[in-house]
Amino acid sequence: MTFSPERRAAVYVTSPQQAKNIPQLIEKYGLNDPIPVQYSRWIKEVAKGNLGWSLVAARPVAKAFWSYFPTTLELNLFASPLVIIIGIWLGTLAGVHKDSWLDHGTRIGAIVGWSLPTFLFALILLMVFYGYFDLFPPGIISNDISLWVINNPDKFTRYTGMYSIDGILNGNLWVTWNALKHLILPVITQVIVVVALLMRVMRSGMLEELSKDYVITAKAKGADSQTINIKHARKNALIPVITVAGQLVALSMEGSIAVEVVFGRQGMGWWLAHSATQLDMPVLMSMCMFIGLVFVLSNLIIDIMYAYIDPRIQLQ
């Protein structure tokens, strides 16, 4: 099933002479040992802080992580707030004005967004806005700027590793502007794919709430529709939305992979995809671990959000 020890060793070999050393490599790194033994060895190394070596990055995994992580973070930092704002706003509107043109429009938009593979949509955007209009190029930053940054460490300190933010921190808005130009298409792609789900859940949540008794009570009190929709219904409708929040995070991660691969942004997703094609096992294992951690954290945050919105739930 898994690749034979020979093939796994062959991944690290770059010339025919080195191929002769394969049996020694297998011996040295214990590639013939049974899987549980290899796994426990990996765990021991991870505990020591040694995550292995990444072929793709030509650096130890732990070090490579810090150069890839900021890029992905930057993308999601811009995309996530947009997703939340647009999703909740449009979803509420669609639920309140059920069966109107707006409702049908957002539903169709959501379905089409859901049917569009992220990578395809990214390719199309690239084709139109880069190929035809030549407006928004792929990549993270223009070559000349990245060269300038490397050659002038005194004039530009990379605090966070994210060009857009570093530009502001350094007072160099030209860099920020350039980084933002490269971010527009990836962010649009990421947003459209994730917002489809959020809109759908928000809409169904609103529909459910608007048929509840306390909405009728509010109406009998003489409440206007604004109060009913926002104050009464929406707050309750957010509860099922939070339930899906975990899914949204997963969707964002998967979206990041496609977006980074197509737009050539060297972030975690790009790293993952290239490691997969080049059979870079240490990276994949470390990635799974990292993502597992992210999930545990986001579930914790989600639980806290639940307690904040729904007074029936008490935090222990």
Partner: protein
């Protein structure tokens, strides 16, 4: 002197079925979805006639005349043009339909059957099996579908079959969760308790009472999954983990088009056909399943059911 009004003399199940079908089809998106689906089915079934295979024993191998990397525009000979490496796009689209159905049916079938069986047992009987299964699912849950599937493919090796297997091995967790929660909900209802008290066997209860009531969300999910699994599989093929070059798979065809999405500066859309046709095929196929799933969701939603 009849105190009640006679309802039509038909079996209540038939009436419910007709009502459900009415609810599904009064939605124009459902009609569109089904129409698209039938179209794709037709293409898949008629593949050998629409695009006669060049190699009898390997119909999924796209024919190519020569190895030139530059794609050629649509012409009389190649209806949709050729992609990088001179692969006939029309052929790829037609046979790719079969591939898409294969992927969808395999993954959904595999994940569905395993997920449903495990979920029903866990939900109905509870106990240590339920606990064990849920812990396991919780662990697997923390990693997104694509990441886990890619990891599995790296471990097993490349190829379309491995992609399908990997996707199935990850997607079953959804089915388990959904059907388990539905089963637990149904199990608590009074008619199930009544059946138990009457001494009906567990197996009968499961098949007659539990399954028919809990299956709806799973059906909706299965329908949407047919589409989303094709998306995931095509992305993995695009990245290079899937079918080999020249195989009739839509994702693979987009990979072929990768270097040609932007043509020369004078005519940036020159090679539009390399990506337009496979892209359109993927979008429409997934759209069909999503529309159907959406219509099913609206039809089965108990709150929206009786207006």
């Amino acid at each position: 002197m009849e105190a009640t009004i006679q309802t039509k003399n038909e079996h209540p199940r038939l009436r419910e079925l007709k009502f459900t079908l009415h609810r599904i089809f009064r939605n124009p998106s459902a009609i569109l979805g089904f129409a698209l689906l039938i179209f794709f089915l037709g293409v898949a079934v008629a593949a050998p006639h629409l695009a006669p295979p060049k190699y009898e024993h390997a119909p999924y191998q796209m024919p190519h005349k020569g190895y030139s990397p530059t794609p050629k525009a649509p012409s009389a000979e190649h209806m949709f043009g050729t992609s990088s490496g001179q692969y006939d796009i029309f052929y790829g689209i037609v046979w790719g339909t079969r591939t898409a159905f294969k992927i969808g049916l395999f993954v959904v079938g595999f994940a569905g059957i395993i997920g449903i069986s495990l979920g029903v047992i866990a939900g109905y009987f509870g106990g240590w099996f339920d606990e064990l299964l849920m812990r396991f699912v919780d662990i697997v849950w923390s990693i997104p579908l694509l990441v886990l599937a890619m990891t599995i493919v790296v471990a097993f090796g490349r190829g379309l079959e491995n992609i399908m297997l990997a996707l199935a091995l990850v997607e079953w967790r959804w089915y388990v969760r959904v059907i388990r929660s539905e089963v637990i909900k149904t199990r608590r209802q009074e008619f199930v308790e009544a059946a138990k008290l009457m001494g009906v066997s567990d197996l009968k209860i499961i098949f007659r009472h539990i399954l028919p009531n809990s299956i709806y969300p799973v059906l909706i999910m299965a329908s949407m999954d047919m589409g989303s699994m094709v998306i995931s599989a095509s992305f993995m093929s695009f990245v290079g983990l899937g079918a080999p070059k020249g195989y009739a798979d839509w994702g693979q065809m987009v990979a072929l088009a990768r270097n040609y999405i932007v043509g020369p500066p004078s005519d940036p859309f020159k090679f539009w056909y390399t990506i337009a046709f496979p892209g359109l095929a993927i979008i429409l196929f997934v759209l069909a399943w999503n529309l159907i799933g959406d219509a099913l969701r609206d039809a089965f939603d108990p709150k929206l059911r009786r207006r």
